[in-house]
Amino acid sequence: MDEEALIRAAQAGDHEAFERLVKQYDSSVLRLATNLLRSEEDAYDVYQEAFLRVFRNLPKFRFDCSFNTWLYRIVNNLCVDYLRRKRVRRTEPSVLETEEGSVDRLASVPDTRGFADPERRLLSQEVHDRIRAVLDGLTVRERMVFELRHFQGMRLKEIGESLGTTEEAAKNCLFRATRKLRSELGGLL
């Protein structure tokens, strides 16, 4: 069954078709949310909320855009909300001054991004830290565009549509994000 037939079947209430539709996209959705939010629990929440919204609103989906774009619009909106909330939380200082000296609270937070992979260990800690610092420093929009382009392989046109903006604006976000990374990693490239 092709995707359109699957969507129409799911719209007509076929649960099996809906489940197949979910399975076509859910690993990518979860990877995007995990990459962006850097928290498995937040990614879990985004996954659940995104597919529940898809389930509830699927009867209203009219094929005006691709299903992929529509789904990522939902996922992106949810991730943007989470990222903005995170930014607010991040204004708390990470380093606390105590009687025994400075304590970095972030140092005690377990990294949930699967650093046990050998490939990851290959990447020198310095490069990895710098990339991470730059990505964290990007605006929410730049970050979304960069993740969708580099890690999800989406086209800029589609990214623009799913973020509710133009291809040109997505392109500019990508330029800015790349320039920042280039300048921060300068000597290492």
């Binding site: 719209q11 649960h15 099996e16 979860l30 498995e40 009867p59 992979d117 086209r155 990508l174 280039r182």
Partner: protein, 310 residues
Amino acid sequence: MNCETIKDLLVLLNCGELSFEEEETVESHVESCTACRAERQRLQRLDAFLELETTAVPSDLLARCRRDLRARLAREAPHRTWFSPVALWQSIGSIPWLKPTGALALLAVGFMSGRIGGGVSDRLMGPGPVQLSSAHSVSAQTGTPTEAEPTTASPEGSQVSYRPITQTQSAAEPNDARMRNLLLAAINDQDPALRVDSIDLLQHRCSDETVRRALLTALKSDKNSGVRLKALDALRPYAQNPETRVVLAGVVLNDNSPTIRAQAIDLLVQSRGTDVASTLQEVLRREENPYIRERSVNALRAMKASAGTF
């Protein structure tokens, strides 16, 4: 076109976002401009670094997400109208000449159902018997996955069969042979999350030869690297078993995931078999991944075996 513009276009070139003409312009500029050529190489190295940043989705997280979504959808389902006039109208709308005919047909249905009383939806969703059957079930007797056929019997003659996304749970003693068969069958399910869960439940039963062989098959040939990794973990206590060592050697040499190859090397080294050194030497002959090579060299050194002749 100046170098600043080309530098921006190089970003798009790397992403495959340029038209044929733009690509030609950039390529011919880069050929004659050393600075832009260097910039292109830097961007390619940046891409290589970013490639390493790509995270794999943890298979247990994906399994948990799917399981919980199924449960939540099952709770949502009663609020969803199975007979969806909107969806039906949309389907009709995709065939232009059918729309007026469809409108008349819907009017007729509405009129007739009003006359009869109770309406179409009462007939469809009413109190008559509705049998729910899960989309996939596994026969406990044979352990063979089967597609369930939804059947209903209703004295009124109006029936609806549907397949909800629900989780089927079974409870049994760990040593129950039927449960073991169910789990063994689930290792071949099309859903990788279910395969991972099954291996998770079976991993304490690797002393059972059938279970161990099923896990070895999963490690050797499952298409999903998460499943293979789970099988590898489950087989850790049996690394010294000759059959396991043979499979591990094959994985070390042939698996397409460097993560799995690296972990298989560790396990093989722990097994202290006499054939480990020759396997690692073969790795050094074939392997391109520098990390795996380094790991093999270190293991060979620790075994005081030769690594330098390659």
